[in-house]
């Protein structure tokens, strides 16, 4: 099959780097509000019915939303196998924690209201809280560690060795980026509850969400300053071979004083952090003013801005190594083969529009607020 040579290797690599960002952002935009609602659950719902309102705003959609994450994992495996191998085994215990949280969550949604007992339901409410807050925190912490570089190296067989520990991941900068992530997703969850819920649940979500939006702004700015002043970046040495074999050991990397060199090289990328900040501030305003639909849009802009700012700042790096710079993974040395990237792109071009179309239809069918009456009338069938 020579068809794949129609698209040059380096272009496919950049396309898949963008698609990786699209999938992770897609996950944050959709399942992000599910995680946010989970985190907010104990605070917005005081009675069983209130909690059920919150849960049922996401009840019919979380499952599809979560596939963005699963697809993101699959796409990393297929398009960036070294990244998949290093990050999943390197962050071993953190991944296990995410996994446990993501298993608790579906089960919590489905099983919580299947028994009447208050202890049973309370237990699952905690599970849903953990299932929302823990992944939100860990994803942010992971981002912070990626920016600092991760202690891994390859041997000549390209077997990966990891020298860090679980608690090493919980360093101050990473915890700060963890706060950005939690605050950002809580804002998003609050915007969703504002849109889909009524009465006290909506009011409390708006109050907490507007605080979260401000926390997002402050922590994002602090993390940015810290990144500019206190954390070194990485830079490629010598001629950049963008269509060579995917072998990290073939390229050379050195440390640079700061990631912020990227802003001098490509000033246009400043759009992302500006969008992130502006979106968060507008989300604050939207939650205060009670603008149902627009707040969702603002909060989405914030998420797109914040996530893309990390990727664009680091380009072409996707996972730098803090102990062996030449093992660092970049867009040019960590992809799948030319053919696999092409096949995957064809699959994505066919299916992503279809997915977006039917997802939009499902949201359209489920349009409207979840009311107390709806919960009471269908108390045996809803979550």
């Amino acid at each position: 099959m020579i068809l794949f040579e129609l698209v040059p290797f380096e272009i496919l690599r950049v396309v898949w780097w963008v698609l990786l960002g699209v999938l992770l952002t897609g996950f944050a935009l959709t399942d992000g509000f599910d995680l946010g609602v989970g985190t907010l659950l104990p605070f917005v719902g005081r009675t069983d019915t209130e909690r059920r309102i919150a849960i049922n705003t996401i009840g019919p959609v979380w499952e599809g939303n979560q596939v963005w994450f699963i697809l993101g994992g699959g796409a990393i495996f297929a398009a960036w196998p070294p990244l998949y191998a290093v990050s999943f085994s390197g962050f071993y215990l953190a991944m296990f924690a995410v996994l446990a949280a993501l298993i608790l969550r579906p089960v919590g949604f489905k099983y919580r209201s299947k028994r009447e007992s208050a202890a049973w339901r309370n237990g699952w409410d905690w599970a849903l809280f953990v299932g929302g807050a823990v992944p939100a925190l860990i994803f942010g912490v992971a981002m912070g560690n990626v920016l600092q570089g991760v202690p891994f190296r390859f041997d000549d067989d390209l077997r990966v060795f990891y020298d860090g520990t679980f608690f090493g991941l919980l360093n101050p900068f990473a915890l700060l980026t963890g706060v950005v992530s939690v605050a950002m997703l809580v804002t998003h969850g609050a915007a969703w509850l504002q849109l889909k819920a009524e009465g006290p649940v909506r009011d409390r979500a708006r109050a907490i969400g507007s605080v979260a939006a401000l926390v997002t702004v402050v922590s994002y700015v602090l993390a940015g300053l810290w990144l500019a002043k206190g954390i070194g970046g990485y830079a490629l040495v010598g001629d950049v071979v963008s269509n060579g074999p995917s072998n990290p050991l073939f390229s050379e990397t050195t440390r640079s004083p700061s990631w912020f060199g990227a802003f001098a090289e490509r000033p246009w990328i400043a759009v992302s952090p500006v969008l992130g900040l502006l979106g968060s501030l507008l989300a604050f305003y939207g939650l205060r003013a009670g603008k149902d639909l627009m707040t969702m849009l603002y909060s989405k802009l914030a998420i797109i801005g914040i996530i893309s700012s990390v990727g664009l700042t680091m380009f072409p790096y996707i996972l730098p190594s803090s102990i062996d710079a030449r093992s660092s993974l970049t867009v040019w040395n960590a992809s799948s083969s030319h053919q696999t990237l092409f096949v995957m792109l064809v699959a994505a071009v066919i299916f992503v529009p279809i997915i977006l179309a039917y997802t939009a239809w499902v949201y359209h069918v489920l349009w409207g607020k979840v009311t107390e009456a709806e919960i009471n009338d269908n108390h045996e069938t809803v979550y």
Partner: protein
């Protein structure tokens, strides 16, 4: 590679995969059965069928969610515990997993919410379409997962790239239409249909024994028995197809399943029962059926099926050829890929045996330094442990035939004998509920354990595939999984039992009213039924 890490990782993978596979077969089958029931509802407009759809749909939902949740573990685990495997074959193996997400999982997960929440928001026909989309999504998921798994059994359409130190895809078409994958897909999916049929049949039989929900139970039995009969037959036919494709691709697995130590003159006999002895390379007290194996395995009277001893000899040749490839690979590495054409040609000629040289890594760091004894040992390692395969396979097949018998009988009674089931038969149907799960797990075991010592047959040894983790890491996650999964299992079973005991609880009054208004029409005997003697 620390062998404890490999063994613990295998244990963890086996545990979590077997657990995941407790939920998958029922999801595959019940999604289709529920969609069939809803189709009947839309066609006949009788509320009892809607009630059945919702009732079995509730049980489907309780099961489905754990299938989804434990499926995430599977996707994570390749990277977490098998990172060298992920690096080595991710270029091929990752693609079907990602396409599964794009094409199948998105579909089923997006519409399953609408299936449960959309009854009042959608027209009847639109809801029916949603139900079928969930079923189609589930089944397509199985297709792509088995394309990925089929590639591990029969790694076609790929070759080793010495510059990237990994396998790379040479033909996506070959990977997708891998005959092993296709045979596995139909076999696995029909096994799921049988599982769900036995489940629906057993639960309905329990209702009949208790004298409850008769209308729902009788109709459910009619669906389960006819769907189950077709599926049980296809499991065996397609299992045979699967066996035939194994003959072509995985000769060692086949020989191990059969306990066939020496090559027999064609057509070989089939060993019905016996006690395989790995040390003596002999199956004691064997009962043979003449010619059967040759006919099933080769579909000919003249082709031979190689025995284990001959296969080990072939493996030894391949280990030696692999060492030549390994030597060339070291040349590639030392010169960062710039090698003479002779080295490149040598590598090309021998690279398909590279995996066999990697078997030596258990005994020696550099396969080129291996002694003759080590080479013989590596060749011998290609034989999986025979007795568990031998017995697991026979038990699976016996269960498969028992499902056919069960389904034939219930199909006959429900179609031609007006559903006058003796109580003993109903009890048997209840007792048999767990049996298809046992068969399905045994099937998984035969496929995966039979592939040892490889993760990818002939390409990558299991001993090299694991991540470089510590025993503590693995102990924590293993303990976590055992605890977590046990609690979830108890909770799931508790809910299943609760909702089965509770019976249909949605739309009950209107369904009952409709049933009693139309009782005369409904009790008319089936035209096929034997009329009672005057």
């Amino acid at each position: 590679m620390d062998i404890d890490i490999v063994e613990l990782s295998r244990l963890q993978f086996a545990m979590t995969a077997l657990y995941h596979f407790l939920f998958v077969p029922l999801t595959l089958g019940l999604s289709v059965i529920v969609a069939i029931m809803e189709t009947v509802y839309v066609m006949t407009d009788r509320p009892i069928w809607r009630q059945m759809t919702k009732f079995w749909g509730t049980l489907f939902g309780i099961n489905f969610v754990l299938g989804v949740a434990t499926g995430i573990t599977m996707e994570f685990q390749f990277g977490m515990n098998w990172s060298y495997y992920s690096h080595y074959v991710g270029d091929i193996f990752g693609a079907p997993l990602a396409i599964e997400g794009l094409m199948a999982f998105f579909l089923e997960a997006t519409f399953v919410g609408l299936f449960f929440f959309g009854w009042d928001r959608l027209s009847k026909r639109a809801h029916l379409i949603v139900a079928w989309l969930v079923a189609i999504g589930s089944n397509f998921s199985a297709l792509w997962i088995l394309i990925a798994n089929g590639w591990m059994q029969n790694p076609v359409g790929a070759s080793f790239n010495p510059l990237t130190m990994r396998m790379e895809m040479s033909s996506f078409f070959d990977v997708m239409f891998n005959e092993v994958a296709q045979a596995k897909f139909v076999h696995t999916v029909s096994a799921g249909y049988v599982t769900a049929s036995v489940f629906v049949l057993g639960v309905s039989a329990w209702y009949l024994l208790k004298g409850r929900h008769i209308d729902l139970a009788r109709r459910s039995i009619a669906i389960a028995a006819s769907f189950g009969l077709a599926s049980a037959l296809s499991v065996v036919v397609l299992g045979d197809e699967s066996g035939y494709s194994v003959t072509l691709s995985q000769k060692m697995k086949l020989a191990a399943i059969e306990g066939m130590w020496e090559t027999q003159p064609a057509p070989a006999s089939f060993t019905l029962l016996g006690f395989p002895d790995q040390q003596a390379r002999e199956t004691h007290y064997a009962i043979h059926i003449p010619y059967a194996m040759g006919l099933i395995g080769t579909r000919s009277l003249t082709r031979e099926i190689p025995g284990i001893a001959d296969l080990v000899k072939q493996a030894e040749t391949r280990v030696r050829s692999g060492i030549v490839a390994y030597n060339a690979l070291m040349d590639y590495r030392a010169n960062k890929g710039k090698v003479s054409p002779e080295v490149a040609t040598t590598f090309e000629e021998h690279s398909k045996d590279l995996g066999f040289a990697l078997l030596l890594k258990r005994y020696v760091d550099d396969p080129r330094q291996a002694t003759d004894a080590q080479i013989a040992q590596a060749a011998n390692d290609t034989v999986p442990t025979v007795w568990p395969l031998f017995w697991a396979f026979r038990l699976m097949v016996a269960l498969g035939f028992s499902f056919i018998a069960l389904m034939v009988w219930f199909f006959w009674m429900s179609s031609f004998r007006n559903m006058r089931f003796p109580r003993v038969a109903l009890r048997l149907a209840v007792i048999l509920i767990p049996a298809p799960w046992i068969a399905a797990e045994l099937g998984w075991f035969v496929a995966e354990f039979g592939r040892q010592p490889w993760t990818v047959d002939g390409v990558l040894p299991t001993a090299l595939s694991a991540s470089t983790l510590s025993v503590t890491d693995l102990a924590i996650t293993l303990a976590g999984f055992v605890l977590f999964y046990s609690v979830l299992f108890v909770i799931e079973m508790g809910l299943m039992v609760k909702y089965i005991r509770k019976g249909p609880y949605i739309d009950v009054p209107e369904t009952d009213r409709w049933q009693s208004d139309h009782r005369d029409r409904l009790t008319a005997p089936s035209p096929f039924a034997q009329q009672p003697a005057e």
